[in-house]
């Protein structure tokens, strides 16, 4: 996985905050955006996707596409909640393997 991962955990109780930066191997176009949105809907944690100082909710396929994130750029995935670690791992994996 061609990620520059930097997980930071602030584990107070069972909920945690996770963050991971991913360098995109390809443009974040329609298909990976759709994959990302469907995967994101399966988690209960609050999710954020940040690119070029813009933040969107990854469950919104159109908002993700609207970021216009291009190959070689860095996208940061953030999650806060009980399944934050799983969410960040799953979403980062989709971003890192996008074609």
């Amino acid at each position: 996985m061609s990620t520059s991962s930097d997980p930071t955990t602030t584990n107070a109780t069972t909920a945690s905050r996770q963050e991971m930066a991913v360098v995109l191997p390809a443009n974040l176009h329609a298909r990976p955006a759709g994959q990302l949105a469907r995967a994101a809907a399966g988690f209960t944690s609050a999710l954020q996707l940040e690119y070029a100082e813009r933040t969107v909710n990854p469950t919104g396929v159109l908002a993700v596409m609207g970021l216009g994130a291009t190959a070689g750029s860095t996208v940061t995935v953030r999650a806060e909640g009980h399944d934050a670690a799983e969410a960040v791992t799953a979403l980062a994996e989709i971003l890192a393997t996008a074609e």
Partner: protein
Amino acid sequence: MSASVGIVLVSHSAELAAGLRLLVEQIGSDTVPLATAGGTEDGRIGTSYDLVLAAIRSVDRGGGVVVLPDLGSSVLTARTVMDDHPRPDVLLVDAPFVEGAVAAVVTAASGADMKTVADAAREARHVHKL
């Protein structure tokens, strides 16, 4: 998980509806019940009451149906069908055709209920593509 919401794409053009269907199946999912009602029954540009009614029935899995019209008489025809066959679990939704269909299918694929799917399609109007 409850039954999937069905999606109906109503267009003046069979090709437009079929093309949009291919697109949303690629971006979203090919497992969401989806039907097109495009053009007239004899293949011309226009809309067909019977095709819309058949499309709604074909995607009804019990989780509700969201109907997305392209414009103009697609709206009128769909509205007539729904006036004649009023059901609380079939919604005609005001949304951009392409963006609304993508958002609706992705949302339905994640197991969302009819209201959530309809809201996702409506909100597509407010998402910037640039």
